[in-house]
Subunit: 144 residues, 2 copies
């Protein structure tokens, strides 16, 4: 089972790609990695501003853009919003999101391939990508 990425790791990847290490980026990366649910740019900005006075919302957008381009972060689509960001899925991970608290977990779902093969054959499509996401109540929210 893959370990969660660390902030140090991400900062290093950013530097290896020619980007500079700055206080703003450190803050943003830390917030994303320590939160167990997808966040909107504005949320990241508000949390970040408490830690680093003067942080700009624009920097949040630009940092997310870079992180997404490097495949470290992904945009999460939900029925009510599609502007939230989360650590990106790796390999065959898929998302499981709590509709009450927003908590996001990944699960492994690599056995979708046989279903996809069947659909490809029936439809005549050459399938190149898939989205699979589950919604529900996490154990904590379910108790209530």
């Amino acid at each position: 089972m893959p370990e969660n990425p660390s902030a140090v790791e991400w900062i290093k990847l950013l530097q290896d790609s020619g980007y500079r290490q700055t206080a703003s980026r450190n803050t943003i990366v830390e917030i994303i990695l320590e939160t167990d649910r997808a966040l909107e740019p504005l949320e990241i900005f508000e949390i970040g501003r408490k830690r680093q006075k003067g942080l700009g919302l624009v920097t949040v957008y630009r940092t997310l853009e870079r992180l997404e381009a490097l495949g470290l972060v992904q945009r999460v689509h939900q029925p009510g919003a599609c502007n939230m960001y989360l650590r990106a899925a790796r390999g065959h991970e898929h998302l499981l999101i709590c509709t009450a608290c927003g908590k996001a977990e990944f699960f492994d779902g690599d056995d979708l391939s046989c279903l996809m093969d069947r659909v490809a054959e029936k439809s005549g499509y050459q399938i190149t990508d898939h989205w699979f996401q589950l919604f529900g109540l996490c154990a904590d929210c379910n108790k209530k």
Copy 2:
């Protein structure tokens, strides 16, 4: 103008829900039902305006809102856009979308339940909903 039987059905459902039948709504419903891909509000507006002079973009938005509330239409999420609308899926239908021409087809995928049961057991979540969508090239676009 040839009558689309499904359009008649939708208009009737709208009326049964207390909404009035109007020229604008007829036009919008017809466009959605005769198109084999998801459309943005602005696209519906532009096509509709050619048929019905004076149609307003606001009416498109308000009609889509009502059709979505009645479960006749659904918002389609794609990597690049999540403001497109399509006839809603029924039962266990899932979407298969051509990334080249946008053509959307439904396929049946009701055998996801065993995977979902397994995820529920492992994660402790009570799963209430799922999104499953495939992307690829349709037979026509694949030839090129």
